[in-house]
């Protein structure tokens, strides 16, 4: 009881020494639980119920002497129970308005007498004075046994109550500042404009926002208040509203206690307003569709898009990463060289160095390249300076010479400046890809690695990737993966080979975004080599390898190979790595491969389901969340996996599920179509989107939202 009361109950401070239980739904729930417990205590645990407290429970009761019947000595001013303790003191004494109770059985009886005022009594009892009676050590051993048993019973009850509360909470409306902000922003868009608007005006009472998104003063935040609004509807009096974590309701601003709730709590503003303003209720039906679109854009969600093919839903891209050809890097028009004289000093220095590169011999060239590397080549001004002064051409020309130090120096620079999208394009224009690909054949390992790394940066758009393939680069890159390291003990030469393989994997990862390159990699024998490297313990190796695999896993042939070559096991293993990026790529790969039943079984067999669920805790990494939810969802196509999820939920270790901050909503085209025709469905969806802390949405979509599937909207892991 102690824990429930101190932690879960919501208290308000009435004065400095007395506290009252606030009348919130949760407290009501809590009180009911406690009442239930106490009422049945006597019948369930008769022996313990007879135990006498050292100190009585005392509180201000609503009962009067006339309420008491048999078993009690009743006088005008006083009631005493017949039941007495070993010293003859009564176990219940009423001296209005205070009652003193010294056993559970008496408490039970009193509550029974209280009839419909039971809850009031329970509340008053809890607000009253009572000390822990059970920690005192004296007494007979029999007494002690009873005390221990009582203690255990209370602990159990505590746990039961908490469990129920948590269940209630998760089923209950939970608003949060973001959701409120979203709703307010959207509604504000539809304010004003006379009768055409939904409302006349809507504003916060406070301009100041705390860093947690709340606007209510701190002492009210503790009570769950998020913010206060003043809303003028078009057709009725001004509404003063509190948005709290338990819902939105009218407050008592006009009354004495401004914070008091004076209406029911509604799950969102729209519902509340609909109940108060007929004009609003009418108008909102027409505005639903716009509302949905706004909510979708504004809510913080990770969107996973599916692209439908004839074979069924296939994952296309993940949020933020462009995989197949669709989200292509836009080829912007070329930026022309600066014509003004207000150029930074680096420009002139670099121009000088480019001249030395052109006119110098091998020694001067190498020295100059090293000097150039000292500039911050990631800065756009330096990158543009190199291009504008003709430096790019010189650097590419150096790649065709026989001087390997010049080539190394040039590639070190090219590798860095090719982070600039325009420079990438100019490199391709100047046929630089051909020169770089040729260097992949060099016997010098450092050159191979640098060339591969440069390709990884340049091949970020379609034309570049095609060039790599056309000049035979895919085969050469795949060859770089062919190292046979014994990861336990590496010679220096093998370490160099690993470095080369890492760079090769990085390059293949970039190149694999083209479908033809995916096929070319497979044809060159890349998959078994990637599978071999997948066994490496090195993160810098694993990330590009898994990145490439998950990129290519959109091809069925890859999915087959990944499964038959035993790579699922390695992917599952790396789900538990401590690197977010690696975990995300593994989850994406599993997501794509779990299209196939055998893979789903393998994921379960290698105990991959639990790590996937654990990833859901990474609430701040949306890409990772999207990948993990995708994988979990795909795996749930197999019923055995769903059973396993249920098993994990029931036997959750350390509250694996209880602490999940997110709700995963899977909404399909069917559901969206319904939203277009049914305002109610649309509103429900809008509410769902706005009120959850994090939403992962799966939207099956095609351009025109035509219906293909029949799966309805359902929620898992709430």
């Amino acid at each position: 009881m102690g824990i429930s009361l101190t932690r879960a109950a919501q208290w308000t401070m009435v004065s400095s020494s007395t506290a009252k239980l606030a009348s919130t739904p949760m407290n009501e729930s809590l009180l009911k639980e406690i009442l239930h417990f106490v009422e049945h205590f006597s019948s369930q645990h008769p022996q313990e119920a007879e135990h006498v407290f050292e100190e009585p429970l005392q509180w201000s009761t609503t009962l009067v002497p006339s309420d008491f019947k048999t078993d009690y000595d009743i006088s005008d001013s006083d009631v005493q129970s017949h039941e007495r303790d070993s010293e003859g003191h009564p176990l219940l004494q009423l001296s209005p308005p205070t009652v003193y109770v010294r056993s559970f059985s008496q408490l039970s009886k009193l509550l029974h007498l209280a009839d419909d005022k039971k809850l009031v009594e329970v509340r008053a009892c809890l607000e009253g004075k009572f000390e822990s009676n059970l920690t005192k050590e004296e007494g007979l051993s029999k007494d002690l046994e009873v005390k221990v048993k009582l203690f255990q019973l209370f602990q159990d009850m505590d746990k039961q109550i908490l469990d129920k509360l948590l269940k209630d909470i998760s089923e209950q409306v939970r608003l949060n500042p973001k959701a409120v902000k979203n709703e307010v922003e959207i509604l504000q868009m539809f304010c004003g404009g006379g009768d055409k608007g939904l409302l006349k005006s809507l504003r916060y009472t406070s301009d100041f926002q705390f860093s947690n998104g709340y606007r209510a003063p701190l002492w009210r935040q503790v009570q769950g208040d998020i913010c206060y609004l003043v809303i003028e509807p078009c057709d009725t009096e001004t509404l003063y509203i509190t948005c709290s974590t338990a819902g939105s309701f009218l407050n008592g601003v006009r009354l004495e206690n401004g914070y008091e709730r004076t209406s029911d709590a509604y799950e969102d503003l729209v519902t509340l307003l609909k109940s108060r303003s007929p004009h609003f209720a009418d108008k909102i039906n027409q505005t639903y569709r716009v509302l949905i679109v706004c909510l979708i854009k504004k809510a913080e969600v990770a969107l996973v898009y599916f692209r439908k093919t004839s074979a069924g839903a296939l994952p296309g891209e993940l949020f933020g990463e462009s995989s197949t050809e669709s989200e292509e890097e836009e080829e912007q028009p070329y930026r022309h060289p600066e014509t003004n004289t207000d150029l930074p000093s680096e420009y002139w220095q670099i121009q000088k160095l480019v001249k030395y590169l052109k006119d110098g011999d091998q020694i001067v060239t190498v020295d100059t390249l090293c000097a150039m590397m000292d500039f911050n080549l990631m800065q756009e001004s330096c990158q543009m300076a190199i291009q504008d002064t003709g430096g790019l051409k010189v650097l590419l020309n150096l790649l065709d010479t026989d001087e390997h130090k010049c080539k190394i120096g040039s590639l070190k620079i090219l590798r860095t400046i090719s982070h600039n999208s325009q420079i990438r394009r100019v490199i391709v224009d100047m046929k630089g890809v051909q020169s770089i690909v040729k260097i992949l054949d060099s016997p010098v390992k450092e050159l191979k690695a640098l060339a591969a790394e440069t390709i990884a940066n340049v091949a970020k758009f379609r034309r570049a990737r095609r060039n790599v393939r056309l000049y035979g680069g895919i085969n050469k890159l795949v060859k770089l993966l062919d190292c046979l390291p014994n990861f336990a003990s590496l010679t220096p030469s093998q370490e160099e080979d690993i470095e080369v393989a890492c760079c090769g994997a990085l390059a293949l990862w970039s190149c694999s975004r083209s479908t033809k390159n995916k096929k070319a990699i497979r044809k060159a024998g890349g998959i078994p080599l990637l599978g071999r490297l997948l066994k490496s313990p090195l993160q810098k190796m694993l990330i590009p390898v898994v990145g490439t695999l998950q990129e290519c896993a959109s091809e069925e042939s890859y999915r087959n190979d990944i499964q038959t070559l035993g790579m699922i096991k390695d992917l599952v293993r790396n789900l538990s790595s401590d690197n977010d990026e690696l975990q995300m790529h593994c989850a994406s790969a599993i997501f794509k491969c779990a299209e196939d039943k055998q893979t789903r079984d393998l994921v379960r067999k290698y105990k991959g389901l639990q790590p996937l669920v654990s990833l859901l805790h990474k609430a701040d990494n949306k890409q990772l969340l999207a990948a993990a939810t995708g994988a979990i969802w795909k795996c749930s196509i197999s019923q055995e996996n769903v059973t396993k999820y249920e098993y994990l939920r029931q036997h959750s270790v350390q509250g694996l599920f209880i602490q999940l901050p997110i709700m995963i909503i899977i909404i399909t085209e069917e559901a969206l179509r319904q939203c277009q025709t049914s305002a109610k469905a649309a509103h429900s969806l809008g509410v769902l989107l706005s009120r959850k802390q994090y939403c992962i949405l799966f939207l099956s979509f095609s351009c025109s939202l035509k219906v293909r599937s029949e799966v309805k909207c359902y929620m898992i892991f709430g």
Binding site: K352, K355, Y356, D359, G360, D361, Q362, I363, V364, V366, D367, T368, L369, C370, A371, M373, D374, H404, K405, I408, G409, V444
Partner: protein, 215 residues
């Protein structure tokens, strides 16, 4: 003849054994091969009438040209001076093998020490601005309308000095040089090519050490 060559052979072997204990990176057999190669070169040199017990400057430099592809005249003289540790104007057999140990198989540290010695023209344990200018002069092609291409060299020397002079004393100490090269290996031969490239090394080793199988 065979008696003499047998005696020679034994002498060589004993010599090789001694030297291989004192010089890094070569096995006894390999030192034997290097000795043989040395003898061949000396014989070629003495064919023209001289009788020197080592490689003189001319022969050594022509060897650098032909076998190791080092053609930069400013450097080859310095290489000779570096090989010739006792400064007697002749590269002895031991000096030859010690020098080749760095040439062919030197670790980065050994090469750094070697290059620094080559570049320290006056042997005062520092590479000065003047020395750098001397070594880099003329390495920029003169463009038409250009007055003095070495203006660019002066500028480049300042840039390099600024980059490499960690203790800010206007010249490069060994520590400055070492730190720079460890940070960026490309600057090992910043002032001139004084080491053979890997292809020449492969060719030389293949040719010379192959002979141990042919013997």
């Amino acid at each position: 003849m065979s008696k003499i060559s047998a005696v020679n052979k034994r002498a060589t072997q004993t010599l090789a054994e001694n030297i291989s204990k004192q010089v890094e990176h070569f096995s006894k057999k390999e030192v034997e091969c290097l000795i043989r190669e040395f003898n061949v070169l000396v014989a070629e040199q003495n064919n023209s009438g001289r009788a020197v017990h080592g490689l003189d400057r001319g022969k050594f430099i022509s060897t650098l040209h032909s076998i190791f592809g080092l053609t930069d005249d400013r450097m080859t003289g310095r290489v000779f001076r570096t090989f010739d540790k006792d400064n007697d104007s002749v590269v002895s057999m031991k000096e030859w093998i010690e020098g080749l140990s760095v040439f062919l198989r030197g670790t980065l540290d050994e090469k750094i020490k070697y290059c620094f010695t080559v570049y320290d023209l006056n042997g005062d344990n520092a590479i000065s601005r003047e020395e750098m200018l001397h070594m880099l002069k003329g390495r920029l092609i003169r463009q038409p309308n250009e007055e003095d291409p070495d203006e660019g060299i002066k500028d480049l020397v300042e840039i390099i000095l600024k980059k490499m002079d960690y203790d800010h004393d206007g010249k490069l100490s060994f520590e400055d040089f070492e730190k720079t090269v460890k940070d960026e290996n490309l600057l090992l031969e910043a002032f001139g090519t004084c080491l053979p490239d890997f292809r020449r090394i492969e060719m030389f080793e293949g040719h010379v050490f192959q002979e141990q199988f042919e013997q």
